[in-house]
Structure formats: structure tokens, C-alpha cells
């Protein structure tokens, strides 16, 4: 109830994760990481390659279990070390949006069908969200491509579609893992602007993993993951 009062949408407490290297020693990538994300806020995470940024996002989304710690999805407390549960999928579908560096659009579907996949997965009525999807695609400047398949889109256009897909069913949090990593600087900047402005407009919180210090600075809070510790700047 306390999280609700403070409008905390996602919180991690003492989150730890190690990977076994060559089956012998453990490589600790996250060491008692603490993180709090309030509604409509944004947090950027920077760090060297392989420092555990993507792992942190995966743990927050409960795609894999942590070694220890606690995760709060809103007021829902989850032991991070517990095995992921099928019931969590439903919550994830409705409350978390994901954006990845490689877009991961489904090649057999049109842009509109890709966008509406989030709605389908959430079990929400498609017809009610078609208008919103169109509106978001228009905001992203790709509405004229809605009946195209991803193969006919440029990298920037694909990432805009991926952002719309993440936003369409009004999630509380968007986890963006290097969304501009595959884009040139100008397109990357455009996409970042759109992502940040959309999150602000939609009152969606954002965790942004990036290497780009300019994009990182654009968020409300900035942090760096170093030696398994999340250090706020």
C-alpha cells in the first residue's frame, strides 16, 4: 500500500544475480541493486557492455529469476529468487512494455498487426485499441506504413513501430534496452525524442538502457551500473 501512495510503479530491492563462468566460479553481475521508479518518471542506466544492464531489465520483467532480493510491481511483492510463474505473464502483458535494440517485429505480420499483438497478449479487445494504435502510429510518423510488413521498413521506422507496440495498451512501465543501438545518430535522436515525449504524454514510466550519454541525460534520473552496483548520478 505504501508503494501505491508514493506512486511507485516498479521497485527492486537488493536484487542480486550471478552467472556461473565455465561451470566453476560465479560472476556476480548484480549485487544488491536497489531501484525505484515512480509514475511518469524515467531512469537511464548506463554501463560497460556485459555489465548486466539487460540482465537487470530481464529480472525486473521477471523473465528469469534472480539470486536474491525483492521486486515490487506496483503493490505486488515478488520474491525475485522465485521461479517465474505463468500468472506473472498476464500482469506483465498489461503493465510492462518492452523495446529492444533489434526491434523484434514479427515478420509475418503487418505493422498494425505487430502493434496490436500487445493488445492481443493482454487479452484486451482489439477493436477498442485500433484507433489508439493508429493515433500512436501517426504520432510516430509511420501511419502510412500500417499495412506494410516489417521487411519493407527502415530501421528507424521499425523502432518507431516497436515503441508504438510497447505503448499501445497503456503499460505503466516501458523497459527499453538500447533502443537506438542499431540506428544512426540522427534517427536515434528522433526515436529517443519520440520515446521520451510519448512516455511523458502517456504518463508511462521508462527505464532506458543506453550507451549514449546525451540520451541518458534526457531522462529524469540517470544511473550507471558498475561492478554490479547501480550508482545514481
Amino acid at each position: 500500500m505504501s508503494n501505491q501512495r508514493e506512486n511507485v510503479v516498479l521497485k527492486a530491492s537488493e536484487l542480486s544475480k550471478s552467472f556461473s563462468v565455465l561451470g566453476t566460479s560465479d560472476l556476480k553481475v548484480l549485487d544488491e541493486v536497489n531501484l525505484t521508479l515512480k509514475q511518469s518518471s524515467s531512469l537511464s542506466i548506463r554501463g560497460d557492455s556485459g555489465c548486466g544492464k539487460t540482465t537487470l531489465l530481464n529480472l525486473l520483467a521477471r523473465l528469469e529469476p534472480a539470486d536474491g532480493g525483492t521486486i515490487f510491481w506496483g503493490d505486488r511483492e515478488i520474491a525475485a529468487a522465485s521461479q517465474t510463474h505463468a500468472m506473472e505473464a498476464s500482469w506483465r502483458a498489461k503493465h510492462i512494455g518492452v523495446v529492444y535494440q533489434s526491434y523484434y517485429l514479427i515478420p509475418e505480420l503487418t505493422v498494425m498487426e505487430n502493434v496490436l499483438m500487445s493488445v492481443r497478449l493482454s487479452g484486451l479487445p482489439i477493436t477498442e485499441y485500433e484507433g489508439r494504435a493508429k493515433e500512436l502510429l501517426e504520432q510516430m510518423g509511420v501511419v502510412n506504413k500500417s499495412m506494410q510488413i516489417p521487411a519493407k521498413l527502415s530501421g528507424g521506422e521499425r523502432q518507431r513501430v516497436a515503441i508504438v507496440r510497447a505503448l499501445v495498451n497503456r503499460p505503466q512501465v516501458i523497459l527499453a534496452d538500447e533502443p537506438t543501438g542499431n540506428l544512426d545518430e540522427r534517427t536515434g535522436a528522433e526515436v529517443m525524442d519520440l520515446l521520451l515525449s510519448s512516455c511523458t504524454k502517456e504518463k508511462t514510466s521508462l527505464i532506458l538502457v543506453t550507451h549514449n550519454p546525451t540520451f541518458a541525460r534526457a531522462t529524469n534520473e540517470t544511473s550507471t551500473l558498475t561492478d554490479g552496483k547501480l550508482i545514481y548520478e
Binding site: 523473465l63 528469469e64 505473464a89 529492444y100 514479427i106 509475418e108 498487426e113 492481443r120 497478449l121 493482454s122
Partner: protein, 533 residues
């Protein structure tokens, strides 16, 4: 569990947007469709053969045969009693045995049966048998116009024999040819021979028109000359002579129009019975019985004796040297007993009771059980041979879907990250198998229906291509495709069961083929899947 989105994705992976169909889907569906089509067609044809044999057997020997269990029995009374029952359509008594038949130096020992010719519509459709066994003579300068013999020709000194017996003995029934060298003007009228009894002698006949409506019939020896008119009924010279009929056409006959005919008498057979042989042992040599060949017949049921002779009841009694004898009777029931074997079995048992246990009544399916067991065995064997076709298609589907799983690892990770459960993600691949199986089965059924609809044309095409025009006759004589009744599923319960069985088989096997890829996808760690290159 909401499974609408896995179904949607499964469909889209098989039939992607902006493309009609993926190559894999096309191959998989066509494979299943062909498998289902082949299985249905083979089983439907096997059932068609069974149905044909069933009707052939019933046509050849009725629904049941009554066999006496005692030597002395009141068979006339019993057969009348049976015939009077409402369930019974007709009863035909018979006497049977083996006779030695001789024509010059050729011999045959056919299975011989004596029937009552006064029952033209008896259980055995003799006229149909005669029609089937009738083979016209192909003359160089003449045409065979012999009327097909009927049971009316059957007398005590006339027999019908099967083609095999006729060929072995080198005999034939009476024949009449119309000779080509006739003098006919432009008339389209016809002269026919409407009766040619077994006592007709070999002779040449002529019909000559004296005027448009008058003609004379004469034999070449000049012993008979008969003036006739078209206004009068056809002239009948009586038993032992051909009966001609003149049919006027639109264009009238002209004076001088002449038609020539050549008749050939029927062969005469010498017949010995086992009784005669017994008599010979005690030096009482009896002369053989001379009979004429009244017709040559063929029984559609191959299980019937190929060497057979049919004479009158009295003829067989004479040959056996016994009187008032009956070896049994054939029974045909009303049509509502045609298809229900259980009902027929119960009826036969009831009739046995009504005849006070003096007769055993054997239904056709018991008497020929060996044959139907053999056909069933063949059908099961065919299905067993064909099941691997379905399994091979299933393996192909499983391999293709497994490849898809490996190709779509990151998509699988994404779907879980977006809120899909692992089970639902696995279901995408299982449903692909289901869709392939369902569509393949439906198309296969459609193909099977087309095959059944156009079976004659298709079989003719295939047989002609394999065996050629000449070979086709031989093939179709052995496998009588053209008279097969292969029912559509809406016409027969058995056909419906066949279709449904193979639909369910195809859908099940294809769905099971999707289970392994589904399981592989479901146990994938989404985080690792997203990291994979």
C-alpha cells in the same frame, strides 16, 4: 487460458500477411491432403468392392439358403410355408449334383443345379446371368443378331452352361447371323429375330419384299415359304424355327429388298450321371442323356462355381434317378433386410424355428464369411500399409516446425517478454500442426470426393495409360471398376465413418507432430532466447 492470439499467430505464420501462403505451409498441407485422399479413396474403393460383392452374392443366391437336415422331408410344404411369410419376397427350390458332360472328345464335370423354370422371377436372376454370359459371334461378312436367351428356353432337354464349360467343350447355343450381302434399297426399316429356341436347325433363311408392305419368309431349301404382310402380326413358324419381326422405318421397304440370315443349331451335349456309372457297374449300360445348350451364362459372383450347369428340376431328378427330391431352396427377403445383417441373422434363426428344426437356414454373409473376412483383412492391410504415409507426413511437419522454432527463438523470447505464457507460445506451434492437419484433411476429403465423382474417367485414363486400349478390357474384367458403387459420405454411414476417421487421424497426427516443437518452444528460457544470436 486465452488461446486466441496463439491461434492468430499460428495462422499468420502459415499464411503471412501480404503473402498468400508460405512454401512450407503449401507443402505440408498438400502432403497431408494427398495422404488423406489416398487413404480415403483406397478404403472407399475397398468398401465399394465389398458392397459390389455383397450385391453380387445376393443376386446370385439370394439372402439365404435353406438346407434340409433330414433325408426325407416335406419340402414342398415347407417351401410354401416360407414363401407365405410376409418377410419373404420369393423362394426357389433346387436340386444339385455333379454330372459328366461330353461333347465329342471333350469332357467337363460341372456343378449342376436343377431349378423350377416356371418361376421366371425366381431368386436366381437367370435372365441376367444369360445376358451377362452372352457373347456374340463376330463374323467376317455377317452380324450376330441372336436374341439373348431367357429362362423360357429352359426345358427338360435343354441346359444352360457357364462360359468356362462351353469353352472347354467347344459348344454354343443356337445362333443367327444376318449376312451382309443383302439387297436393300434406302429403307431404314429393320428385320429382327425375336426368338431363336434351342431346337432351331442350321439353315439359311431369306426375307424378300414383294411390295412395300408385303414380304415372304423362306428357307434356302425351299421347304418353307410364307407370305406375310406388315399389317399382320409377325409370322411365327413355331418352336424349332426362328421368329422374325419386320420393323418398318420412316422410309418404306421396296419391292426386291432382301435380307439373308444363317441360323446355327445349338450344340448337343451327352450327359452322364453318377447313377448311370453305378448302373454300369452292374452291366446295366444306360445311354447318355442328350440335351441342347439353351444358353451360356455368367454369374457375377466369382465365388459361384465357374464350371456350372443349370437344368430343370425334373432333369436333375431324372439324372439322379430320384423323385420328389429337393436339396434346398434359395430365399430372398423383403428389401428392409438387405443391409442389416443382424436383423437378417435373427430372421433366419426364427425361420428355422418355424420349420421345426428340419432345415438349416444359412444367411449369405455366413455362407460367404471366408470371403468377406479376406476382404476385410485386405482392407486392414491396406490401411496398415498406408498409415506410415501419414506418419511420414507427420515427421515432415514436425521437422519443419522444429526448424521454425529454432529460426524464431528471439520472437519466442519477445512474446514471453510481452506477456505470453510459455504454454501459449508452445501452443502456436501445436496449432500450426492442427491447422495443417485440418486444412490438409479437408482438401484431402475434397480430392477424394472428386476422385469418387470422376472415378470412371480417372480409372479409364490410368488403366489406358498403363495397359493400353486393349489391355483395359482385361483389367476391367478382373477389377470391375465401372460397376462399383462408391457412396458419398452423405449417402452412406460407412462412408461417413471412413471420411471422419481419416479426418480425425490426419488432424491428430499433425497436431501431435506439432507437440515436440511446441514443447521445445515452451521450455525455452525467454531471457536466453532474447540474448541468442
Amino acid at each position: 487460458m486465452k488461446l486466441t492470439w496463439p491461434l492468430f499467430l499460428a495462422w499468420k505464420q502459415l499464411f503471412p500477411s501480404q503473402r498468400k501462403v508460405s512454401f512450407f505451409s503449401l507443402l505440408a498441407i498438400v502432403g497431408v491432403a494427398l495422404g488423406v485422399n489416398v487413404m480415403i479413396v483406397v478404403v472407399a474403393f475397398m468398401q465399394g468392392f465389398q458392397q459390389k460383392f455383397r450385391s453380387d452374392i445376393i443376386d446370385s443366391q439370394g439372402h439365404a439358403r435353406a438346407v434340409p437336415l433330414q433325408r426325407k422331408i416335406a419340402w414342398r410344404k415347407d417351401s410354401q410355408k416360407i414363401a407365405s411369410l410376409p418377410e419373404v419376397a420369393m423362394v426357389s427350390t433346387y436340386v444339385q449334383g455333379h454330372l459328366l458332360v461330353q461333347n465329342r472328345d471333350y469332357h467337363a464335370v460341372p456343378f449342376s443345379m436343377g431349378i423350377n423354370p416356371s418361376q421366371p422371377k425366381g431368386v436366381l436372376p437367370i435372365n441376367e446371368f444369360l445376358k451377362k454370359g452372352f457373347v456374340p459371334v463376330h463374323g467376317y461378312d455377317s452380324k450376330d443378331i441372336t436374341p439373348v436367351p431367357t429362362i423360357n428356353s429352359l426345358e427338360d432337354d435343354v441346359v444352360f452352361i457357364t462360359q468356362q464349360v462351353a469353352n472347354r467343350l467347344g459348344v454354343r447355343a443356337a445362333t443367327v447371323l444376318i449376312l451382309d450381302d443383302q439387297n436393300v434399297t434406302e429403307t431404314d426399316g429393320k428385320v429382327q429375330v425375336v426368338r431363336l429356341d434351342p431346337y432351331v436347325e442350321s439353315e439359311e433363311w431369306m426375307i424378300e419384299f414383294l411390295a412395300e408392305d408385303r414380304y415372304k419368309i423362306k428357307n434356302i431349301l425351299g421347304s418353307i415359304e410364307l407370305n406375310c404382310s406388315l399389317d399382320e402380326p409377325a409370322a411365327d413358324l413355331g418352336w424349332g424355327y426362328p421368329q422374325f419381326r419386320v420393323v418398318p422405318g420412316d422410309k418404306p421397304f421396296s419391292k426386291g429388298d432382301r435380307y439373308r440370315f444363317q441360323t446355327f443349331r445349338s450344340s448337343i451335349l451327352e450327359i452322364y450321371s453318377p447313377t448311370m456309372i453305378e448302373q454300369a457297374k452292374s452291366d446295366e449300360m444306360a445311354p447318355p442323356r442328350e440335351v441342347r445348350v439353351g444358353g451360356i451364362f455368367e454369374v457375377p459372383w466369382q465365388g459361384f462355381h465357374t464350371d456350372a450347369l443349370i437344368g430343370t428340376h425334373r432333369f436333375m431328378e431324372d439324372m439322379r434317378g430320384e423323385e420328389n427330391v429337393c436339396d434346398g431352396f434359395f430365399i430372398k427377403f423383403q428389401t428392409n433386410y438387405l443391409h442389416d445383417e443382424n436383423k437378417l441373422g435373427e430372421l433366419c434363426a426364427r425361420l428355422e424355428g418355424e420349420l421345426e428344426g428340419n432345415w438349416r437356414i444359412i444367411p449369405w454373409f455366413v455362407e460367404n464369411a471366408w470371403f468377406f473376412d479376406l476382404l476385410k483383412f485386405e482392407e486392414y492391410l491396406m490401411v496398415l500399409i498406408m498409415i506410415p504415409i501419414g506418419l511420414v507426413a507427420a515427421f515432415a511437419i514436425a521437422i519443419a516446425l522444429m526448424t521454425t522454432v529454432l529460426r524464431k527463438i528471439r520472437e519466442i523470447g519477445l512474446l514471453v517478454a510481452m506477456g505470453g505464457t510459455r504454454f501459449a507460445v508452445g501452443m502456436i506451434f501445436c496449432m500450426q500442426g492442427f491447422i495443417i492437419g485440418t486444412l490438409g484433411a479437408l482438401i484431402g476429403c475434397g480430392l477424394a470426393l472428386l476422385f469418387i465423382r470422376y472415378r470412371d474417367s480417372l480409372m479409364s485414363f490410368i488403366v489406358t495409360k498403363i495397359a493400353g486400349e486393349e489391355g483395359q478390357a482385361g483389367v476391367t474384367q478382373f477389377y470391375d471398376f465401372y460397376s462399383l458403387e462408391v457412396p458419398y459420405p452423405w449417402e452412406s454411414e460407412q462412408s461417413m465413418i471412413t471420411f471422419l476417421t481419416f479426418i480425425v487421424f490426419a488432424v491428430l497426427v499433425s497436431t501431435i507432430a506439432g507437440l515436440l516443437p511446441a514443447w521445445r518452444a515452451a521450455r525455452m528460457n525467454p531471457a536466453e532466447a532474447l540474448r541468442s544470436e
